[in-house]
């Protein structure tokens, strides 16, 4: 054993000159590896990368088509695109964010592809909360979306239509402002809060863990989903096919199955 070590040392010494090149090679290798890692996310293959609203998770993964999905709050995804992240398709839970990206030249013209409904969600079997009015009672705890995420925007829009006193009482009961619908669902299913504002489809996706209380028609904000092909995508044809599919094809069927409505005809 010792002899072998000695031999190795000897070999190492003899090879010292060549190992200078090896050292440089190793550094180069590290750099190449780093570049290679970068390339991994670049989508060298024909796989589509789709940045989609968290509320689309069930419908989109059910209609896989081999695309890579990144689910988060639509606002976070839009901010990523503004910071230079380049998915092939952007699908948002509102029309404002895709329109803004379109104005900035970052995505092509957005297409409406689905409608949803804001609901009051409670853990199944909840008796104490049956309407918006119950949220104003002291001691009730509520989770809502953050200010910029669509579900938070719709919720604030809804609350703004309420009488000031009721709105203040409800505001005072908010315990968490979550970055996306997933956070609200989690807080509700874990019993961390008594109620939250979600989309109808989010409640359906919990398979009975939560139940939806419909909101008065006059207060309900219109929840529309828009998608757009990201400018400069390497897969324009596939990206457009994906967006079209959300309106007419397999994507549309998966959306209906998940509880989304078709977009209103214009």
């Amino acid at each position: 054993m010792r002899r072998r070590v000695a031999q190795n040392v000897d070999v190492a010494q003899r090879k010292q000159r060549s190992s200078g090149r090896a050292a440089a090679g190793a550094v180069a290798l590290l750099l190449v590896a780093a570049l290679g890692l970068g390339a991994c996310g670049g989508g060298g293959d024909a796989k589509l990368t789709v940045s989609a609203a968290a509320s689309l998770q069930r419908a989109f993964t059910d209609n896989d088509q081999g695309a890579r999905f990144s689910f988060a709050g639509s606002d976070e995804l839009a901010a990523q695109i503004e910071q230079g992240v380049r998915p092939d398709v952007y699908a948002a839970a509102d029309t404002v964010l895709p329109a803004k990206l379109h104005r900035e030249g970052l995505v092509e013209r957005p297409v409406l592809f689905a409608a949803n409904e804001l609901v009051l969600a409670v853990p199944s079997g909840t008796k104490a909360i049956t309407s918006l009015d119950d949220l104003a009672r002291p001691g009730v705890t509520i989770a809502i979306g953050q200010r910029a995420v669509p579900v938070g925007v719709y919720t604030r829009l809804l609350l703004s239509h309420l009488p000031a006193a009721e709105r203040r009482a409800i505001d005072a009961n908010v315990r968490s402002e979550e970055p996306d619908v997933g956070g609200i669902v989690g807080k509700l299913t874990q019993g961390a809060v008594d109620a939250g504002f979600l989309y109808r489809t989010d409640v359906k996706a919990t398979k009975g863990a939560l139940e939806a209380i419909r909101l008065p028609r006059t207060l309900r904000p219109a929840v529309l989903y828009a998608a757009a092909v990201v400018t400069g995508t390497k897969h324009p044809r596939e990206a457009r096919a994906f967006v079209d599919g959300l309106r007419h094809g397999a994507g549309a069927r998966a959306l209906r199955a998940a509880g989304f409505d078709p977009p209103p005809r214009r």
Binding site: Q16, R17, S19, G20, A22, A23, A24, A26, V27, L30, L31, A34, G73, D75, E76, A78, A79, E82, Q83, T141, A143, Q146, R147, A148, V149, V174, R175, S176, E177, E178, P179, G183, G186, K187, Q190, G191, A192, V193
Partner: protein, 267 residues
């Protein structure tokens, strides 16, 4: 001076790559953040709330970790007993847990529907979505960083010192307080700094367990995430502030540690 050999060149090359990779994002934050934005973020009341909350919660968490963790680490370092290795592994497990798993685990244990949720509720204690919950999350993710360092520090103390102390008539407690702790001091301080830094940066477990609400549970990392979508420059500025605070904290604690212990050792 001897000419640098190829192996040295390799080492220097590796260090250069490491340094570049690890400092680049931090440098970029400061390059991109205009001083005016930094100033603005420091006057934004919501950002100030987040900073205050982060500092208070992480300080409490680190306090708890040091008070409970130091004797625990001492026991693990100085006694040999069955199952010790298993114990050490269990304690270190949170180190390798993704924050999301930590958050789920805390909910499953201490959430309203969790194992001890009922008992906590009966005691009138609610952790989920409260500031206390933030402290719990920070303590959980940061504690192993301190425990590991503290245990290593105590293990490195020459046992003959402890024996001498006992021979000279000092009790176990006095030996621990007056011999072991000063001797392991630098390790304890290094562990404290690491744990504090980790607590300041905690995101996932806090969001899942404590939620995000301004002034109550929204720590700086959560505030940064919220701003990312609405106001990138503000997010950048707040990030720069957090980096500066964490860096200053690390440096202060380290400097304080070395000087104090060096003086102690010189005596």
């Amino acid at each position: 001076m001897r000419r640098a050999g190829p192996f040295t060149i390799l080492l220097v090359g590796a260090l250069t790559v490491t340094l570049l990779f690890l400092t680049l994002p931090v440098v970029a934050i400061f390059v991109d953040a205009a001083p005016a934005d930094l100033a603005r973020s420091l006057t934004d009341p919501a950002a100030l709330d987040a900073l205050r909350l982060s500092l208070v919660c992480s300080a409490i968490a680190v306090g708890i970790i040091v008070v409970v963790g130091t004797p625990a680490a001492y026991l693990l370092a100085t006694r040999r007993f069955r199952g010790r290795a298993l114990l050490v592994t269990l304690i270190e497990l949170p180190l390798v847990l993704p924050p999301a798993v930590a958050g789920i685990g805390l909910l499953a244990a201490l959430g309203p529907n969790g194992l001890f949720g009922g008992a906590l509720d009966d005691a009138g204690l609610r952790l989920v979505l409260t500031t206390a919950g933030v402290v719990v999350a920070l303590t959980f993710v940061a504690a192993p960083f301190y425990l590991r360092q503290a245990q290593a520090g105590f293990e490195a103390v020459d046992p003959s010192w402890l024996d001498a102390s006992r021979t000279l008539g000092a009790g176990e407690a006095r030996t621990f307080a007056q011999v072991a702790i000063p001797a392991a001091g630098p390790s304890l301080v290094a562990g404290l700094a690491l744990a504090w830094g980790r607590a300041l940066g905690e995101f996932g477990a806090t969001l899942m367990f404590a939620g995000s609400f301004r002034g109550i549970t929204q720590t700086v990392p959560l505030a940064i995430y919220e701003r990312f979508a609405t106001d990138f420059t503000a997010a950048l500025a707040l990030s720069a502030v957090l980096v500066a605070i964490s860096g200053a904290l690390l440096l202060t604690v380290k400097l304080l540690g070395t000087t104090t212990w060096l003086r102690g050792a010189a005596r």
